[in-house]
Symmetry: D2
Subunit: 342 residues, 4 copies
């Protein structure tokens, strides 16, 4: 259910409607739009008498939402959500006309490694740095990440270079720490339906980057985001990172058509990760260009100064100088599709 | 790496070898076999000098294990693992020649519902009861299970009927409770690569039923089990529940060939869940028969006394009387493939 | 559209209705059933005035068929179709309670090879022999089959041993020859949507075995069969041979749930080919057992007396003695599911 | 096997080497390159004595080719193949730096329809026109195309507007006619492994556009092309049109990563068909942009002046004015990736 307020409704009226909703045992989600505020209702709203809400001051109309996802839907918010990520170098905007770039190594391996990569990324103008301190690895015997020590290194990178930090959380404990040290909380593909973790992310105060699961349908992807929004965190960015198919020449099959598909259904921005999406260095550059051309709101690219020595995923990391060249091409393609890189 | 002991090696010698391994900063996993004990070594064993271990009393030989999974491998344990599940009605055995049946509703909805189902299952001879108290649901607005109250109902079912209880844990908190109230801890398909949860299950004192992820390869499936064994819990049972493919006439594509494939590589028993594997009642019976014929060590079947009123997955639940008839056919097919239903 | 005749309608009345249908520019397909005859109508029947047909003598009712497939549908024929394959050893029946076994090498390599295999198959009681004279191979440089010379060898096998012959046609030219030399015309998975070939098979006088394409949905599979029936050949048998998925431990993923799914929608019998379906010898036996348990109407098994020397697919061929042992188990499982091997 | 000639080798020397190869019972495929000519050898070359060929005048070296595909491989021809399609408006080039656009309706429905579409396409500068006279349809009861009458309409379009014509052949008979009336012979996805048809296309005198099968691996795709080249027709263009996966929001999953993957392995140009690849109008434009950005050598776009009245695939056809706007954007993106639209 969705309550649409009049364009001239006051903040007080919005608050009053929310209170009425909560008094019915439901949750209210006020979502300010360009023209007017909508209030999403979640909880078992089957029994709610519409008349109660429609008669409140400032209410324009009540609309039943039939889609399984509500808060992430364009029905609730027509215009694109623009997520603001504060960094020492200024806010980075994601969504709408704003295209964001994120670069960095797959895993935080050492302070020296992160410093070296950050040093070489600095001149490209990128302002968001990625790197995993907690690595979900197929084998229990593979490098599992540096944990909190890794997060401290990332915090140092922010202090030193001004980059905002995007890093993955894999359970409640690590999410607490990522929320403390990082700027964006990443939920990885393997945890896309770890609903307990999604709910915790929904109570976090920082934006969340949610990666699509390896075999997630579009509805499942949007519903996973809905878990986060339904707990009150509306700063969610999606990320396509390739799905699993029979096709065996690349690590995953990058499903770029999901970008216009998401934009048709949801107001949330969507990134593309061409590094995991292809798993091979020589495909990262062309697929990065394609991702921008298809309308992605951001790119998440693995960059390593010594890919051949990387502790994980070196085979899909590009060099800082390749990333620098890519940035130039991306700005050109972004202009064609009326987007601005920031 | 694997240390194979002489058949006449003493328990003391085994212990001494384990202590030597631990003193090298590695983990030791003594695995008693029919003829002799093998000791799996995990941790970074690349640098270990074989000679140190080979010279210890009772050691027959040291074998490098090249597969990515070690403890779950047939290299480490040649004969089938037989898992023992204690129930008030006596131990249920899974693996080797023993075939186990598990039945019950998808979700614990109420005490009355569980009692009604259990009542009708009792005469079939089944001794393991399933039912979810924590339900991982695609939508945040769907019924999420009764939580601890549901576990208490299940415990009551055990007290009343003598059934062993298999129920799902979805995070650390629920795993603590499932370990307390249940007899087998189920890890669901969506959490197959929730490595933090797998490690916790590896420290549990009760057997674990690990379901295959929706798009998990065989190696990933075995490696997920390896996470549990590597933490010290060797009582792991696998479960095929269908994978996600283009094929759209059933909810999932039940990949029965995984049963002989697992048996070739691993000593662990494997269940089949034809209810989730097909998602349609009229396919559950034929696929149950097929699962036994293909060599599964157990069946996990959703049974509900009023499927049309079920809060989740009613469409794939069969009736108690259908299950009773199935039990008879299963015993006949089991005999053809030299298995005994218990 | 479907015209259902009264149970006491005469052959003359059926003929008169068919003529009326044809006079409207449509095709009529009289399909005799146990209780009464139905007449399928194909062609653009949108504009047909039902009243014209309903008023004809002997007509019980006219039913619009909304499914995309008509003649293969259970709506048109409620009871199972039983296909009769004449062989020198007597008719082999497929469908209903009759389960048929087919065995033989992947490819016809030489007369000596076929004779050796046939010799060893004889004592198992199998009466249908398979072997490809035209091999659709991924590479243009692989062995493409012996062509007509191969068909002549197969004809000799029939003369010598009394087996009925099932062999593949890959284009119009080879179909002419297979129709001449063989007893059942096989259309392979790669040609499941070679509609030109399907239409030709629909004009053939011999039964057709149609294999499911590697990524065919159930509707596409049934529609491919519909192409054959719509040309007048109602003796069609389907065959599941595995579909292509991400799952990499077997050559294909054998989708056994398609058997009950087909039976729900169609009256046509369905075989299972566990050899192509798994691609590995050690999986052929368990999956053969499972196929019978799930309700298949036939098995198509590759048997070679010297698999290690086979020119194609030796890795998935079983030995004649393994097939003999399998036959015994299959008869036992068939009895459980109320089927008779013939 | 591959014979590489000296850069200064004469045409006569090349001919002499070819004759020597043929005299050994093999096929020779001289492939002129920018710097020098290579001669591919196909047939059972296992037994060939290299010394025989290496000693011939003009031969630089003999190289065994281990890949399953030979003539399509970059090992045989290092530089990109540029295919020349003659049209009344001048040659259209495909490959290398040349990007080609093809537009037109899914099916030829009538002369009026084709004329209307062509009329509106003319101003966009596109020089290749597509339209199916033979339509492979899932249902035998769907519109199957106008056949030869449709080809005559297409020939008229060429006469009237100067467009080159690309149209599909579905069997030997239609291929004869397409070769007569059209400029490029299209082999559709469903026939990608109709090897009999591929061999026939290999003996045609016109270029071939080969679409990837719905579940074809990259190797299978290249091997299908190899079938055509091995018969002597080297003018082959590949086309990605989406593969079949679990992903259900689009008709197919457009696998754009196949473009850089093909370019790494083969010298053949590759088109992208975003219309079949997505199956939804609102995805065609963004995916067209992405296809050019990823490095495709051509686009095949369905354009219809009245999509809502189309006899097939109207839902994925864009309007002529949308195509015109797309052409402008494509030229801009092409410039970024150093390609020229022609």
């Amino acid at each position: 259910m969705l309550v649409v307020m009049h364009s001239h409704a006051t903040a007080e009226q919005v608050r009053a409607v929310c209170e009425r909703i909560e008094s019915l045992g439901l949750k209210s989600h006020p979502i300010p739009g360009a023209a007017r505020t909508a209030i999403g209702i979640t909880g078992n709203d089957g029994a709610v008498d519409l008349a109660i809400l429609e008669s409140l001051p400032g209410v324009a109309e009540c609309i039943p939402v039939s889609k399984p996802y509500k808060l992430v839907s364009r029905d609730v918010k027509e215009e694109d959500s623009v997520i603001r990520i504060p960094t020492p170098l200024g806010d980075v905007l994601v969504g709408g006309k704003h295209l964001a770039l994120v670069a960095g190594p797959c895993a935080v391996e050492s302070e020296a490694q992160c410093m070296a990569v950050a040093e070489q990324l600095k001149p490209t103008g990128v302002r968001l740095f990625r790197g995993g301190a907690y690595k979900p690895r197929t084998s229990p015997y593979s490098f599992q990440g540096l944990g909190e020590a890794g997060l401290k290194i990332l915090a140092k990178i922010r202090d030193e270079f001004g980059f905002g930090i995007i890093t993955e959380a894999i359970d409640h404990e690590s999410l607490d720490l990522v929320e403390k040290y990082g700027d964006v909380i990443q939920i990885g593909a393997r945890n896309m339906q770890n609903f307990s973790l999604l709910k915790r992310a929904g109570r976090a105060k920082k934006p969340v980057l949610l990666k699509r699961g390896m075999s997630a349908t579009l509805d499942e992807f949007l519903m996973a985001a809905e878990y986060i929004l339904s707990e009150g965190n509306y700063n969610v960015m999606l990320c396509e990172r390739g799905v699993r198919t029979f096709s065996d020449f690349s690590r995953n099959t990058l499903d770029l058509a999901v970008v216009p598909a998401v934009k048709k259904r949801s107001h949330l921005p969507i990134f593309v990760d061409p590094s995991h999406g292809t798993g091979k260095r020589h495909k990262v550059l062309p697929l990065s260009r394609a991702a921008v051309a298809v309308g992605a709101d951001g790119l998440l690219v693995e960059v390593h100064h010594q890919p051949e020595k990387a502790l994980s995923d070196g085979i899909q990391s590009i060099l800082p100088e390749e990333f620098a060249a890519l940035c130039i091409e991306i700005r050109q393609i972004a202009a064609v599709v009326h987007r601005e890189v920031n």
